[in-house]
């Protein structure tokens, strides 16, 4: 058969209608092209903002991956640090003036610097924690090197900034953190190959410090991991049970509607409110310790609960009712149907929801302020009740520090945080792809 339109000769009226449609069609095509352009423009705008953000963070932070070190030749007086049998005495090692030893050795290399103020200025090239670093190095080694040894010691943050080109040496001397004299010494050390830039491993193996060169993100990372562990432990089972109840057991009616509305409301509550709740209930009423990742995790669990409940309900609803009906029809109880048949099928969705909720919690600072996790904490937490901070908190604290070197470190910490977030989100996508079932 041929096309019926060709067969019937259209009358004038139909012809006019066809033309009208053809004209309209042009307009409609134009409109949809415009919409497409707007869409592309919106995406380009969003991507360029993201690109600007990432470039700023990376260009501010990439230098923090390196740390400036200075080579010093010194002799460690073993007799002042050892027991009689040659092992290192920790008490003696703690009380020994390591900083003095390093400073003396360093000053000895500049015999023409004699005035007290000049000597002090020279000493400012060294890290204030140089002595502590050397002590830990020796303690980790377990033995004291005999005779003259060459060691690489961290420089102060100001020297670090100069070496990385983040301190403008063309500025007026009074407006610079390093004097002409100090820059002269540094240049002579550079000429002697006694200053080097090395990988900043401290950043990944230490917790917070007041000296940028000794500060790291390990403490905050461990704190975050601990808090999120508690969050998952509490939020996941509670949320899944709540969702199963609401989907399968709750009698439809006003009470259920009321609960549903409130879960959605809860998802929109500003996170600081959960912090206030944590302060009043967990710290005030239950007397739990301040600054502990346990409490942080509990507060974040409250915050992520609605997210997980909503995701779980959606994925339970996505499981065809026929599966439940078949289970019930074969004599399974409602609980057996829910736990043995529905939940395993809904698991990928639940998992995705949980990971997204946890990723959200990882980026939170506001609720942690109230419960004392926004604090200066030098020791890496070992248990759930040790004081700890979290990654975003560490970024916040560093960005508020006066020392310029913290600025680049906070950018590097942002990169670490983003890496975690991206990993979590990608794994959520991959898990969903792998386990998702289509009916």
């Amino acid at each position: 058969m041929n096309n019926p339109i060709e067969m019937i000769q259209p009358d004038a009226e139909t012809q006019a209608r066809f033309e009208k449609i053809a004209q309209g069609l042009k307009k409609r095509h134009a409109a949809s092209r415009r919409l497409k352009t707007y869409g592309i423009m919106a995406i380009v705008t969003a991507i360029s903002f993201l690109a600007i953000l990432l470039t700023t963070i990376i260009s501010n932070g990439y230098t923090a991956i390196q740390q400036t070190e200075l080579q010093i030749t010194l002799t460690i007086p073993a007799e002042k640090l050892q027991y009689d049998d040659g092992a290192i005495d920790p008490v003696k090692a703690r009380n020994f003036n390591w900083n003095g030893l390093i400073k003396k050795a360093f000053l000895a290399e500049f015999p023409d610097v004699t005035a007290m103020l000049d000597q002090r200025a020279l000493g400012e090239i060294l890290s204030k924690n140089a002595g502590y670093d050397l002590r830990r190095l020796i303690e980790a080694k377990g033995s004291i090197p005999v005779g003259e040894t060459k060691v690489w010691i961290k420089t102060s943050d100001d020297v670090d900034m100069l070496m990385k080109g983040r301190l403008d040496r063309n500025l007026d001397e009074a407006q610079r953190r390093l004097s002409n004299q100090q820059i002269g010494w540094i240049d002579s050390l550079v000429a002697d190959d006694r200053i080097r830039l090395v990988f900043n491993d401290t950043f990944f193996t230490a917790a917070d410090s007041r000296e940028p060169e000794s500060a790291g993100v390990l403490g905050a990372t461990v704190g975050s991991v601990m808090a999120l562990f508690v969050t998952v432990l509490l939020a996941l089972p509670v949320a899944v049970m709540a969702a199963v109840y609401l989907e399968y057991f709750a009698p439809p009616g006003r009470v259920t509607d009321f609960i549903e509305v409130n879960i959605n409301n809860l998802a929109a509550v500003p996170s600081i409110v959960f912090g206030l709740l944590g302060l009043a209930v967990f710290l005030g009423f239950f007397g739990m310790p301040r600054s502990a990742p346990l409490v942080g995790g509990m507060v974040l669990a409250l915050m992520t609960l609605p997210t997980i409940i909503i995701a779980t309900r959606a994925s339970i609803r996505a499981v065809p009712t026929s599966i439940r009906d078949a289970a019930l029809g074969l004599g399974a109880s409602r609980m057996q149907a829910a736990i043995d048949h529905i939940l395993p099928l809904a698991a990928p969705g639940i998992l995705t929801g949980t990971i997204i909720g946890i990723a959200q919690a990882l980026g939170e600072t506001a609720p942690l302020i109230m419960i004392g996790m926004v604090a200066f904490i030098v020791d890496v937490p070992a248990t759930l009740t040790d004081p700890a901070t979290a990654l975003p908190v560490q970024i916040y604290i560093w960005s508020d520090s006066a020392e310029r070197a913290f600025y680049e470190r906070s950018s590097l910490a942002i990169m670490v945080l983003l890496t975690f977030l991206i990993t979590m989100n990608i794994s959520a996508v991959l898990l969903r792809r792998k386990f998702e079932k289509k009916w």
């Binding site: 953190r177 000296e211 089972p237 200066f376 020791d379 759930l384 508020d400």
Partner: protein, 340 residues
């Protein structure tokens, strides 16, 4: 049942929290101005004493006092930092909770009134600052009675008004809008600013009453959070803006900002130490007496903080921007320390 181990884990972790009630770590709260000094002392203490490093939160002076005065026991902080002396209201709160405390002065600080290095260097009187910031000012040259909302839009206006009130020459301030970033009300720096800039400047303007207490709300005074780095960034971005913050921050950022000459006195170390600088102030910390000897290391930490090697002219807090006490002042702190 597959949920059983999870539930068991939950119960176990809750039990763990109630078991770990004793605290072997000093807990410090309070002023964000004292925070940089307190943290340095704490880190040194942690490195050299064998005790754990104290945990320090920057809650602002007011917030710190609230936590500190709540009571005695491991759940309450041992020390609170303050960038002003304790208020009588707070002392009463402490007394009501049975908290006895010892006051220590850490050192001195000067409040900077600063703008970007690219802007004009101001040589002004605190009267100018007060006139620029007060919510209401009397505009008739004769009367202090009929105050009207502050209409001084530019620094040139402020200059003309101040010259009219206190007599003398114009300070040569430019015709740029008044825009000043001030610390939030929970900050001790704000309290000290109210006293040193506003109250004293108000008197200099020949005014009495308490009109200085209210800052203008027409956008000329901008309240910013306790983040001093942010203030510096904003000052660099907008050279017409001014910011109010502590000496240590100014000292660290000399390559970006300049402090105004106040009443002819430069903001520097000597002028703060001698209190010639009109906005110089002491910094404090308060120790809970009942916790000394109970919290491990508290006494030793005070000994570390209140010492020549920390607070002195040669001390390690000096490079961070702390202006040391006079010899007499320091001797008093040592007496208080030893009596603890």
């Amino acid at each position: 049942m597959r949920f059983t181990p999870l539930i068991a884990g939950m119960i176990a972790s809750l039990a763990l929290s109630t078991a770990a009630q004793a605290r072997d770590q000093i807990s410090i709260v309070g002023s964000s101005t004292v925070y940089p000094f307190s943290t340095i002392a704490a880190e040194k203490f942690g490195q050299s004493s064998g005790f754990k490093t104290p945990v320090i939160e920057a809650t602002g002076t007011g917030g710190g006092m609230k936590l500190f005065c709540k009571g005695i026991g491991v759940e309450y902080p041992d020390v609170t930092n303050a960038s002003r002396a304790i208020k009588s209201k707070e002392a009463k709160m402490c007394a009501d909770a049975g908290v006895a405390f010892q006051e220590f002065i850490v050192g001195n600080d000067g409040i900077a009134f600063a703008n970007s290095l690219k802007g004009q260097h101001f040589e002004i009187s605190i009267a100018h600052v007060a006139a620029a910031l007060a919510a209401e000012l009397p505009f008739q040259a004769d009367g202090a009675s009929d105050a009207t909302p502050n209409q001084l839009k530019t620094w040139a206006d402020v200059d003309a008004y101040t010259a009219k009130r206190i007599g003398g020459d114009l300070a040569g301030l430019p015709n740029i809008p008044v825009s000043i970033m001030v610390p939030p009300p929970t900050s001790g720096t704000r309290d000290a600013m109210g006293e040193l800039f506003m109250k004293h400047g108000w008197k200099k303007l020949g005014l009495d009453g308490s009109g200085y207490k209210k800052l203008r709300e027409d956008g000329a005074a901008i309240e910013v959070g306790e983040n001093d780095s942010l203030i510096i960034e904003k000052l660099v971005a907008d050279q017409n803006m001014f910011g109010v913050f502590g000496y240590s921050f100014f000292d660290q950022n000399r390559d970006k900002v300049q402090a105004a000459l106040l009443d002819g006195v430069e903001l520097n170390f000597e002028n703060v130490a001698s209190y010639k600088y009109p906005a110089a102030r002491p910094l404090f910390f308060y120790v809970k007496k009942a916790h000394v000897g109970v919290i491990p290391g508290l006494k030793e930490f005070i000994n570390e903080f209140v010492s020549e090697k920390a607070m002195g002219l040669d001390g390690y807090l000096f490079p961070a921007g702390l202006v040391p006490l006079s010899e007499d002042g320091f001797a008093k702190q040592v007496v208080a320390r030893d009596a603890l």
